[in-house]
């Protein structure tokens, strides 16, 4: 690292420029990661926080994909699931997007219907009551328990305001399953049975599920896999992850390009050092160390900036999730990919011929 440190100090302008590029890419990746996670939470947090490791859908017909929007599970299905060997619990969950109103305030909400004692949602919600999440209460202007809220045209009393669960970018309103069955879309037209739910939250031995699904006419997947059945989440998350992937690739290419040019510019110095007896391994270590210093410094600064901006916007209208996983993990990936790009670039040190240091060729 003897020459590497001195090069960094001597060619300050060049390295500062490259460092600034790394900082900006890291900042962009950090912000995008926080935004992706924040948007994701707005889409899926009510599902991922369900106290179950699997979700059972009504088995779709033919080649249709699983979908929260189209799944309708009948009572006898979840009861069969619950009775199957290896299944510890099977709790029906109704999910529907509906309009809610309190006074002159209106909001779209996700109504989740659950049974009392199921352990799902914020405590037991009796018939005629609802539990509002804090974002739902804020949108509806509800200040406390006991206030009246109309959900899909039916009046409910607010039992508790708690949590921030969201589904498909809508704040969640927890209802009794029996109430949900009346307010879900299609109920008024008789399109739904009065004894249905959307999915079943299942806790079971994985090996027992194929037989249980066959018996109940359901298809059970892990909670994580079920997220792909939320249409808005799959497309939104896919687009954002694609952008993130491109940024990772761009960063590796930019860093690789910089160190390729830098190594070519230094070819004369490398030839001299080799002619004087420096080992190729030592020169590679020196060059890679230099790249890692630049990468780590730039990435840490960019990550700190992203975390700072994230902290500023967290809690505002911008759905930014600030967590080690959303800020540090992309930084680690950037350093790893950047180091790979740099390693491929400085590899050409091995092909520099020390003989070129002799004579007037330089």
């Amino acid at each position: 690292m003897y020459v590497a440190w001195r090069d960094l100090r001597f060619a300050k302008g060049r390295f500062a420029l490259m460092g600034a590029v790394i900082v900006l890419i890291t900042l962009l990746v950090g912000l995008l990661s926080g935004l992706t996670a924040g948007l994701g939470q707005q889409n899926i947090s009510a599902v991922t926080r369900l106290p179950a490791d699997r979700i059972a859908f009504a088995a779709p017909a033919g080649d249709e994909e699983l979908s929260y929007a189209s799944s309708v599970v009948r009572e006898e299905q979840w009861q069969r699931l619950g009775r199957a060997d290896g299944v510890r619990s099977a709790e029906p969950v109704g999910i529907a997007s509906v309009r809610a109103a309190a006074g002159d305030r209106h909001a779209s909400v996700a109504a989740f219907g659950v049974r009392p004692g199921s352990g799902i949602g914020p405590g037991d919600v009796r018939e005629g009551e609802i539990a509002l999440t804090e974002p739902a209460a804020e949108e509806l202007g509800v200040d406390g328990e006991g206030e009246e809220v109309a959900v899909a045209g039916r009046e409910f009393t607010v039992r508790v305001i708690e949590g921030d669960d969201a589904y498909s970018h809508l704040p969640v309103v927890w209802t009794h399953l029996a109430d949900w069955q009346h307010l879900a879309p299609g109920a008024a037209e008789g399109g739904r049975s009065a004894t249905t739910a959307t999915v079943v939250a299942v806790d079971a031995d994985p090996g027992a599920l194929p037989a249980a699904d066959r018996a109940a006419g359901t298809r059970t997947v892990t909670t994580g896999d079920s997220l792909a059945a939320i249409g808005s989440y799959a497309s939104e998350n896919g687009s954002l992850q694609l952008m993130r992937g491109f940024l990772f690739a761009i960063s590796a290419l930019v860093i690789g390009a910089f160190f390729t040019v830098w190594t070519i510019q230094r070819a004369g110095d490398i030839a001299v050092l080799k002619a004087l007896g420096a080992s190729t391994r030592g020169l590679l270590t020196d060059a890679l160390g230099q790249a890692l210093i630049l990468l780590t410094g730039g990435t840490l600064l960019g990550t700190a900036l992203a975390a700072g901006i994230g902290a500023l916007v967290s809690g505002s209208a911008v759905p930014f999730a600030l967590a080690p996983g959303t800020v540090l993990a992309p930084a680690a990936v950037l350093i790893a990919l950047g180091a790979l790009g740099a390693a491929l670039s400085v590899r050409r040190i091995t092909s520099v011929d020390p003989l070129t240091a002799l004579g007037s060729a330089r």
Binding site: R6, F10, D269, A275, G359, S360
Partner: protein
């Protein structure tokens, strides 16, 4: 601790045939002596230096540097031999732009794994010996051409080289500065008992040589003291 080349032949590919750069060359340079190698461009001077520096492996013949036979040594062993036993003074100073004069010398100790404190002291002594005691903290662009060449010479001696290979060190200097550099090389050769080979095309540089070797078409002829 001498330099000895015996029946060395070196050829390069030249289209479908091969061009002979060195033709059964034998040269013995004892320690503490300076051998000047002269000859026209393309005569084989640089090839001779490259073979002696272990940068090229000859087609045949043997090269013995400071008592060590180089045939059969791997790339790593040759690098180790160069950094510990061979000092090279390049035609152009070839100094690293990011290093100060003292660091140009200290980096040699670093690549040879020598202790830092001893390296600093050795660099100070050598810069003093080449008249650059006051320029230790200057980078190449802050030094004159003659000063850069002096750093180049001091660097070659940093790791106690036993064989000093000097490639036309005055080509970028005026006559007065060139003479001063040659005087310095001659003095250091005798003081540090190195086996020095000086490649030059300038007849004025032959005065301080202990033996003069002429190269023509890859073959050696001698003037002055005999060649082994």
């Amino acid at each position: 601790m001498s330099l000895e080349l015996t029946d060395v032949t070196l050829t390069y590919p030249d289209g479908d045939s091969r061009l002979t750069a060195l033709d059964r060359v034998s040269l013995y340079v004892p320690e503490g002596s300076l051998t000047a190698v002269v000859g026209p461009s393309g005569s084989g001077k640089s090839s001779l230096l490259a073979v002696a520096a272990t940068l090229i492996t000859p087609d045949s013949g043997t090269v013995r540097v400071a008592g060590r036979e180089t045939a059969g040594l791997g790339r790593g062993e040759l690098s180790a031999l160069r950094r510990s036993r061979i000092g090279i003074v390049f035609q152009q100073p070839n100094l690293l732009p990011s290093l100060t004069a003292a660091e140009q010398l200290q980096v040699m100790a670093r690549i040879d794994g020598r202790p830092k404190a001893a390296a600093r002291e050795r660099a100070r002594e050598l810069l003093d010996a080449v008249g650059l005691a006051g320029q230790a903290d200057r980078r190449p662009h802050q030094l004159s051409g003659g000063q850069r060449q002096r750093v180049n010479i001091a660097r070659a001696l940093m790791n106690d080289a036993r064989v000093l290979l000097v490639d036309e060190p005055t080509s970028a200097l005026d006559r007065e500065r060139g003479a001063a550099v040659l005087d310095l090389i001659t003095e250091l050769t005798h003081r540090t008992a190195t086996a020095t080979v000086l490649v030059t095309h300038d007849p004025h540089h032959l005065a301080g040589a202990d033996q003069v070797v002429r190269v023509a078409d890859g073959r050696l002829t001698t003037q002055g003291t005999p060649v082994g």
